[in-house]
Symmetry: C2
Subunit: 275 residues, 2 copies
C-alpha cells in the first residue's frame, strides 16, 4: 500500500467486475493516478468482512487519508458490517434498491448478485459456442462457415480484428469471423472473390499506418511486414477497397476492443444474442 | 417494445457497458424477466438525447408503466436534458460525484467516461498481446511458450478452458495458456511429463460428467467422445491427477467465465497485469 496515496476499494459479494467498472469510471473524473485501486471480490461471509475491514483501516492509517469504498453487497447483514468502516461509502445497492422497490412494488430478493453468473444455461452455451466459433474462424481459416456468421471483420493484419471478434463473442454471444486482407488480395481494390457472397455481413477495420507500424514492429522488428512503406500501402489499399465496395468501417487506431465492439453494433444495427 | 412490460434504459455517453452491468445487477433483485432492458450507448449530443427521450416516452405510453433510466452521463448539459424524461432516474454520476469531489477537494473533470477506452497505450497493448498469446497457446499447441505463461489451465476437452483463458487475457491482460488432458495422458494419474516443469503455474478445471456429456453431445452427438462412460472416465482420471499432484482447481459446472477467471485469481493470488 503506497504511503501517500488514498485507496479506493471496490467490494463485492460476486466477481467485483461491476463495482470495479463503476469505480474506474467515477475515479477517471479525478486525478485517479493518485489513487490506489483495489478490487475485493467474493466478500460473502462475516470472516471475510472482518479481514476486509482490517485492510481498509490499515490503508487509512498508513496513508493518513480517508479511503473510499464502492460496493454492491446484497446481504443486509454483511453490508451493515462493512458500514462500520471509516471510509467514504458509495453503496450502489443502498442508493438504488429502495427507489426500485417502490417502483416495482416488491421487495428486493436479497439473493447474491448473479449479474455475471451462468444463470440461464442455454444463453450461456450460446456465448461459449460463439467463442469457439470466433476461434475456428479467425484469420479466414474456414470460409465455409461464414454462412453462419453474424458479422465478418475485414482489415489488414494486426488491425485489431481478432480481439474484437473474441470480445463480441464473449460479451454479446455474437458469431464474429474475420478475414485478413493480405497482399495477394491487393492487386486491385476489388473485394476478394471469396468475400463477395457475404457482402452484407462485412465490416471493415482501418488503422493509422504509423500505429500499425509500431504494433507490427513489436511483433517482427525491422521486417518488410513492419516497414513504413508496407503499412502505408496496405492501409491505403484496404481503405480504397472498403470505400469502393461501400463496406461500413471503423478506425481502430484510438478505440479499445470494447469501443470497437459496441460502436460496430450500434453502427451496423447488429443485435446481441445474449443479455 | 412489449405492450405490458416496463422498460429499463441503460444510457451512457460511452460504451454503455458499465451502466448495463449496474442495471443487470440491480434488476436481478426484482422479477427482471418482466422488464424490457435496452442499452443506449454513445448518447453524446443534443440530437441523440432528443431521439432517446422520444423513445422513452413511447415506451411509457405503450406500456402504461413508468420506465427506469440508469445512466452515467458526464456532461451536465446532456444530463440535464435527459432529466426531462418522465422515467425514474438512477444517475450514478449525480449520486456519487459530489461526495467524491468533496473527498478529493477538486471538481470532476467533465470529460467523457473513458473507463472502457484505450487510455494508456502500453497497457492496452498488453491486453492485446495477451489475447494473441491465449490464441497461440490454446489446446496445448505451443508448449515451448509455457515458460511465459502467467497461468496454464488443465482439464478435459470442453471443460471451459479456452473461454476462461480468453477472458483472463481480455479483461486482465494475463497470459493464460491451456492444455487439454486427453486419453493418451490418462494411462495413469501422474501429471503428463510435458507439464511437470510448469507445476506452479497449473490450475485445474473440473466439471460434472453429466454437464460435460450434454456439452459434448451438442458438438458431436452420439459419439464415443460424448458418451456417459467416456465423460465419467475422463473426469475421474483428471480429478485424481489434480489431487495427486496437488494442483488447485475449480468446478466449472455452475460458474461463468467471469466467475471462473475472478475466482481463479483470488484462489491462486495471480494479479492482473492491467487495471
Amino acid at each position: 500500500m503506497a504511503r501517500d496515496k488514498r485507496t479506493a476499494f471496490f467490494i463485492s459479494d460476486g466477481t467485483g467486475l461491476t463495482v470495479e467498472a463503476i469505480g474506474h469510471s467515477l475515479l477517471a473524473q479525478f486525478r485517479s493516478e493518485h489513487v490506489e485501486q483495489v478490487t475485493l471480490p467474493y466478500v460473502d461471509s462475516a470472516d471475510r468482512v472482518q479481514q476486509v475491514l482490517r485492510r481498509i483501516e490499515k490503508a487509512a492509517e498508513e496513508s493518513g487519508l480517508q479511503p473510499v469504498i464502492i460496493t454492491s453487497i446484497v446481504s443486509d447483514e454483511i453490508r451493515r458490517q462493512l458500514h462500520q468502516s471509516s471510509a467514504l461509502m458509495l453503496d450502489v445497492f443502498e442508493s438504488y434498491l429502495t427507489p426500485l422497490a417502490n417502483l416495482f412494488g416488491t421487495d428486493p430478493a436479497q439473493t447474491v448478485n448473479v449479474s455475471h453468473g451462468i444463470a440461464d444455461n442455454r444463453r450461456y452455451s450460446e456465448r461459449i459456442e460463439a467463442v469457439h466459433y470466433a476461434m475456428d474462424n479467425d484469420d479466414g481459416r474456414r470460409v465455409r462457415e461464414f454462412e453462419r456468421a453474424d458479422v465478418i471483420l475485414v482489415g489488414v493484419s494486426r488491425s485489431g480484428k481478432t480481439p474484437t471478434c473474441l470480445y463480441l463473442a464473449l460479451q454479446f454471444g455474437l458469431r464474429a469471423a474475420n478475414y485478413p486482407i493480405t497482399e495477394e488480395d491487393m492487386d486491385n481494390t476489388a473485394l476478394p472473390k471469396i468475400l463477395r457472397p457475404f457482402r452484407e455481413k462485412l465490416f471493415g477495420l482501418t488503422i493509422d499506418p504509423k500505429r500499425l507500424m509500431s504494433i507490427r514492429q513489436e511483433r517482427r522488428a525491422n521486417s518488410r511486414y513492419a516497414s513504413r512503406e508496407q503499412c502505408e500501402f496496405e492501409v491505403r489499399q484496404v481503405e480504397q477497397m472498403l470505400r469502393r465496395a461501400q463496406i461500413p468501417s471503423l478506425d481502430a487506431t484510438e478505440l479499445s476492443v470494447e469501443e470497437l465492439a459496441t460502436r460496430l453494433m450500434s453502427q451496423s444495427g447488429i443485435e446481441r444474442r445474449v443479455e
